[in-house]
């Protein structure tokens, strides 16, 4: 700075010195504080990751010993009797999930398609309703399943369970479907229409294939969610110690079995519970990771 600008430069220089003084003296405190705070964040990350590892390790360690041929092929037996398994629970879970998927997926996807293509008041309300539905406590869904099916047909049944699970899956599929269908670029639609195709053809030939990755991911996630639900089943299928393929009768399911056996004082039953927990956890984790990998892979292929 030249001497000519003595008078006006002075307040600026003074301020500069004051700022630099404050900056230098506070530096240590600020840096320390930053290190500390960021260290806490790292600690939080650790806290978040540990339970996952702990749960998986425990379930594997305690559940794997229960896995033998009998486990997968024999139905449950009362405590003290050897050779029990969870085949009835596996069958029940599979049958119920399949029925739920077969009903919920078409309805959900078509509804998602509807929402992706409409913008009126009805669509907005419906979208909001679907969102709200995802927040309904699962026990209340179970109550509804009880009222709707068990009450009306006077019997606990696999159908009631499938109804409840399907109800839980439905909004997830609707939402995923709408997002996937909306992701189809307008230009594709318009190009097809300009070529003279009808809307239905456009939907079938253009929209659905393009949205397929998102749809598949959404469905897999919904299935993973449905598999993990226990409360609705507790109120609708009642449980069954025998192998049962008929969904109009009472059935057993893996989550129910785990729930019931957890608090039993008999070690062999608890062992079965761990084995079932491992099975359920593995399937759900595989579905979750698989859907994510699939989404990444298909997303890359698209490019």
């Amino acid at each position: 700075m030249t001497d000519v600008l003595d008078a006006p430069a002075d307040p600026i220089l003074e301020r500069r010195q004051a700022v630099q003084a404050a900056a230098a003296s506070s530096l240590r405190r600020r840096k320390l504080g930053s290190r500390l705070a960021l260290g806490v964040c790292w600690a939080c990350l650790l806290i978040a990751v540990i339970p996952l590892v702990a749960v998986v390790v425990y379930v594997v360690a305690k559940g794997l010993p229960a896995w033998n041929v009998d486990f997968f092929t024999q139905p449950t037996k009362p405590e003290g009797i050897a050779g029990g398994g969870v085949s009835n629970a596996i069958v029940g879970t599979v049958v119920i999930t399949v029925i739920a998927v077969v009903v919920a997926v078409p309805f959900g996807l078509l509804c998602g398609l509807f929402l992706a293509e409409s913008d009126g008041r009805f669509a907005t309300t419906l979208r909001f309703t679907a969102d709200v539905m995802t927040g309904i406590p699962s026990i209340t869904v179970g109550i509804f399943g009880y009222i709707a099916i068990v009450r009306n047909f006077n019997a606990y049944s696999g159908f009631a369970g499938a109804f409840a699970i399907g109800f839980i899956m439905l909004p997830v599929i609707i939402r995923a479907g709408e997002t996937a269908f909306r992701g189809v670029p307008r230009s594709l639609n318009e190009a097809a229409m300009a070529l003279g195709a009808r809307r239905a053809t456009v939907a079938r030939r253009v929209v659905v294939p393009t949205a397929l990755p998102g749809v598949i991911t959404g469905v897999l996630l919904a299935v993973a969610r449905g598999l993990g639900e226990t409360a609705p089943l507790l109120l609708t299928i009642f449980g069954n110690q025998y192998l049962q393929w008929n969904p109009s009768k009472t059935m057993e399911a893996l989550p129910i079995l785990i729930y019931n056996y957890s608090s039993q004082p008999y070690a062999d039953l608890v062992q079965v519970a761990w084995g079932a927990a491992l099975l359920l956890m593995v399937v759900v984790l595989v579905l979750s990771i698989g859907s994510r990998l699939l989404a990444n892979h298909l997303g890359k292929v698209r490019r």
Binding site: A9, V19, S26
Partner: protein, 284 residues
């Protein structure tokens, strides 16, 4: 490290580097020196062979076509590349007698001496105009209300914003127009009273009228802070700067310094034919 804290004899060291680029020796007091500065990302050089001095009270412009590394070079001056893990800065940059990339130099402290204004105005949206203006001061540990108020007023006046905001200092920073937001960002940088102000294409996101106001501002501010400005607009460089550094991408895809000197000379009788081509608009 030099003795007595003086900058090494500038003219001498510059002649050593002169064969790499056409550089005019500086006049007046030097505020920042750059010697053989290069920046590379993950092994790939983005800009290299940069040697010049920044003189106090002047506006130094970094000009050149896009891809020539102007912004990369600018951001090396206040260590903004520290946040990028793959970035490596070589060469020497000095602010006064401070080695900018020295092991004992703290980047946050450096940035209180070398401020920056960005291409797109970025006032903090959750803060009021006043809070925006004093944000830098608060970050640096300044608490005294008197000092904050003083600095805010002075900076807002210098940014030609005081009259329009003095009655609504508590209003949210986002309520200003684009040009006003940029001036608020300038005020925010000025409030910390830095020695150097780096400006990265500060008008490219603004309309012509706002651009003109900011260019006027740059002229008014250079007594208060030394300014280094990146611009892709030659006319702007001609209008606002005292000295220019012309950078150009070489065959190795890295930008390099071609010529450095007073703006008037660079634009009328440049030494290097490439500079001549650029200022005559033969490539952009």
């Amino acid at each position: 490290m030099t003795d007595a804290g003086f900058i090494p004899n500038v003219e001498e060291s510059l002649t050593v580097h002169a064969e790499k680029a056409m550089i005019d020796p500086p006049t007046g007091q030097v505020v920042m020196t750059l010697r053989d500065v290069a920046v590379a990302f993950a092994g790939r050089t983005a800009v290299r062979d940069v040697t010049f001095d920044v003189c106090a009270g002047e506006v130094t412009a970094l000009i050149g076509p896009s891809g020539s590394g102007k912004t990369t070079l600018l951001r090396a001056l206040n260590r903004m590349h520290d946040a990028e893990r793959s970035a490596v800065v070589t060469g020497t940059i000095r602010l006064g007698d401070l080695d900018v990339y020295g092991p004992d130099t703290d980047a946050t402290l450096l940035r209180s001496r070398v401020g920056m204004v960005f291409q797109r105005p970025n006032p903090f949206p959750t803060m009021s105009i006043y809070d925006n203006a004093v944000a830098g001061l608060r970050f640096n540990g300044v608490r005294k209300k008197a000092l904050l108020d003083d600095a805010a007023e002075s900076a807002l006046i210098a940014a030609a914003l005081w009259d329009s905001v003095k009655d609504r200092l508590k209003a949210n920073g986002g309520t200003l127009s684009g040009g006003e937001q940029q001036r608020l960002c300038i005020a925010r940088a000025l409030a910390v009273e830095p020695e150097v102000l780096l400006m990265d294409e500060p008008t490219s996101a603004l309309d012509p009228i706002a651009t003109k106001r900011i260019e006027e501002l740059v002229g008014e501010l250079k007594d208060r802070v030394t300014i280094v400005i990146v611009t892709h607009n030659m006319q702007q460089a001609m209008r606002v700067s005292d000295r220019c550094a012309f950078l150009l991408m070489g065959e190795d895809k890295a930008g390099g310094l071609i010529e450095f000197g007073p703006t008037s000379r660079l634009f009328s009788e440049p030494s290097d034919p490439r500079t001549l081509d650029y200022v005559n608009g033969r490539f952009g």
